[in-house]
């Protein structure tokens, strides 16, 4: 067994940390307060190379392994959840499905600008009445000659209504199977297509500097060739994409927990009450010890899941475990971090306040903790 990162992965971690500290951290609180998606930091992240990380150079990707992508996401999340969300959603959910399932023409058309970070792409699975039960969506696509005609709506779609959002992958009902179940397929819809509208969703509690959208399809017509991969495989494609996506949500939990831990440790060593730093009280030092231990365990689990993926071994069970564990580890770390900050931890002047809010999404997005437990229970044969 070898727990050492490669030289390239170590350089990557140092470099992304440096970038995040210099370019994102100083702006994060302000962007969160103003609920502002920053095109400036988006451009910097693009130039730095954070998009298309695991995509081959053929499509202008960075050709790195999945673990490298996860380390980069972790390091961004260590300073800010919103920016990590933009990066993770774009790589895993925006770029992922086109890269995995697109035909050569689609890949050549869409991937280069997405990998350059000039454009963003959404992943349209969730509907108002189809969240955890994602296969029950009502959005429909009917073939009319050489065009798909799409009707329906999607909700909570990340990166789909920015000024640079180029389109979205939409899960649609495209027919009915012999057994009466719906046939589900993914269709690519470009921004600007008639009948397609995206609208920014406001007033989120968390990820306030990330873009979340409602999508509307009203007799929206796209060419037949916009079908992604094989007809009827849409649900499987989306679930497979989420297996990888869960690793990036886990990375956000791990990085966020690490950020909470570091802020809590620094604060507890410097804040004095009863004439001594509060870290000297056993109850507090034990909280910090627990945080460090949980983070170490979470990192091992997540990196192992990435190792499985990078070595082409089944990883869906471990991805669900890592997503579940890392998001819950951050839950506890954010809670301890605010507790250790006392009243100041409740004020926006301190980043732990934002981390505490940003954490909550991780137990809900890309499959709630309950759904992760169901996935794991199925894998171990308990369900």
């Amino acid at each position: 067994m070898d727990f050492e990162l490669s030289i390239e992965q170590q350089i990557l971690r140092d470099s992304v940390r440096d970038f995040a500290e210099r370019e994102i951290k100083p702006l994060a609180a302000e962007l969160d307060r103003n609920e502002e998606f920053s095109y400036d930091t988006l451009q910097k992240m693009a130039e730095f190379g954070l998009f298309g990380m695991f995509v081959s150079e053929h499509y202008e990707g960075r050709a790195m392994d999945y673990l490298s992508y996860i380390i980069a996401t972790e390091e961004i999340a260590r300073v800010d959840g919103s920016h990590a969300a933009t990066v993770a959603a774009e790589n895993s959910l925006g770029i992922g499905p086109i890269y995995y399932f697109g035909d050569e023409e689609q890949k050549r058309k869409y991937l280069p600008p997405l990998c350059r970070g000039e454009a963003l792409w959404g992943f349209g699975l969730t509907e108002a009445n189809a969240g955890s039960d994602a296969g029950s969506g009502r959005t429909q696509a009917v073939l009319d000659g050489d065009e798909w005609v799409i009707n329906g709506s999607k909700i909570f779609i990340t990166n789909a209504s920015t000024e640079v959002s180029a389109g979205v992958t939409v899960l649609c009902r495209t027919g009915t199977l012999d057994d009466g179940r719906p046939e589900l397929s993914c269709i690519l819809v470009e921004t600007g297509t008639g009948g397609y509208q995206s609208k920014v969703m406001h007033d989120k509690m968390m990820w306030r500097a990330s873009n979340t959208s409602e999508l509307y399809f009203d007799d929206c017509r796209v060419p037949r060739s916009n079908l992604l991969g094989v007809r009827g495989q849409g649900f499987r494609q989306m679930m497979q994409t989420l297996d990888g996506g869960r690793l990036s949500i886990a990375a956000m939990g791990l990085g966020g927990a690490q950020g909470c831990f570091e802020m809590a440790l620094a604060y507890a060593k410097q804040r004095e009450q009863f004439g001594t730093p509060i870290s000297q009280f056993q109850v507090n030092s034990f909280k910090l010890a627990d945080m460090a231990t949980e983070i170490e365990c979470a990192r091992l689990l997540l990196y192992k899941a990435c190792w499985l993926r990078d070595n082409h071994k089944p990883f869906a069970k471990e991805a669900a475990m890592a997503k579940l564990n890392c998001s819950e580890v951050m839950y506890r770390c954010a809670n301890h971090a605010v507790q250790l900050h006392g009243g100041y931890g409740l004020m926006k002047d301190y980043d732990v306040e934002r981390f505490y809010r940003d954490q909550k999404l991780l137990e809900i997005g890309e499959g709630t903790s309950e759904i992760q437990r169901m996935v794991i229970a199925r894998h171990i044969g308990a369900l």
Partner: protein, 250 residues
């Protein structure tokens, strides 16, 4: 134009340093290693010269353990063109300078840029010794570098006590970088990708035919004394008395 620049492997300035059990070095377990921050500034300056000149080559050199490959890869990912690693153990500053001279003689660069010092032993010697051994002009502690249009000389602003001094040195010359020379770039992901294909040559110090017997021996190392806790006094009178009779500074 060719620029040779150094990258020493040193402990991260943010890591906690402990003296080892034999008391003659530091405890290396668990330490994170980085490029010496002044060398990072040197690399950045070399890259800026290259970008301004267009046709320049930047060669980054590290002298030390084979693990220093990581620091060289960092330099390559920042944008240097190729790397040379001279491996050797127990090398003091004079040995490092002599080795660097051999590399300079082999590479014939127009400029050598080193950090003004390494943040581990703070010797502040290698640049000066190397220039002396080469018989080259040197500009130390520089905060600004301008290469003349005809590339025959460099104008260097030096940070000296209480002000700035601007000097001109004919090329080839050796320059040591001070803190305010620039803010180093981070290695971007495209840079990290490109670094994969860049050459890294490994040379053993012993093969260079220089006497690397240390001129100095570290006899002992000790952490700085722990600071004693302060004391709150009740009055100015008590303070003055304490300063006179206890601290004996008045």
């Amino acid at each position: 134009m060719k620029i040779l620049v150094t990258a020493k492997r040193v402990p991260d300035p943010e890591s906690t340093i402990k003296v080892n059990s034999s008391g003659d070095g530091i405890e290396e377990a668990g330490i994170k290693w980085v490029v010496n921050p002044f060398d990072e500034i040197a690399i950045e300056e070399a890259l800026r010269v290259k970008e301004a000149q267009g046709d320049a080559e930047v060669v980054v050199v590290s002298i030390g353990p084979s693990e220093a490959q990581e620091q060289l890869r960092t330099g390559l990912a920042m944008g240097a063109d190729r790397a040379i690693l001279v491996t050797g153990e127990n090398l003091d500053t004079s040995a490092v300078a002599k080795i660097l001279v051999k590399i300079v003689e082999k590479e014939s660069p127009d400029i050598v840029i080193t950090g003004k010092q390494a943040i581990d032993d703070d010797s502040n010697e290698v640049g000066q010794m190397t220039a002396q051994l080469l018989g080259w002009p040197q500009a130390t502690f520089i905060s600004e570098l301008k290469i003349a249009d005809d590339k025959s000389s460099a104008e260097c602003t030096r940070e000296v006590d209480g002000g700035m001094e601007t000097i001109s040195v004919p090329l080839p010359a050796l320059i040591t970088a001070d803190l305010r020379l620039n803010e180093p770039r981070y290695a971007s992901l495209p840079g990290i990708m490109k670094a994969r294909k860049k050459p890294l040559e490994q040379i053993e110090a012993a093969s260079l035919g220089v006497d690397t017997t240390p001129k100095i021996v570290i006899k002992s190392m000790a952490p700085p004394p722990a600071r004693e806790a302060g004391r709150i006094v009740e009055s100015v009178d008590e303070l003055v008395t304490a300063l006179q009779s206890e601290a004996k500074v008045l």
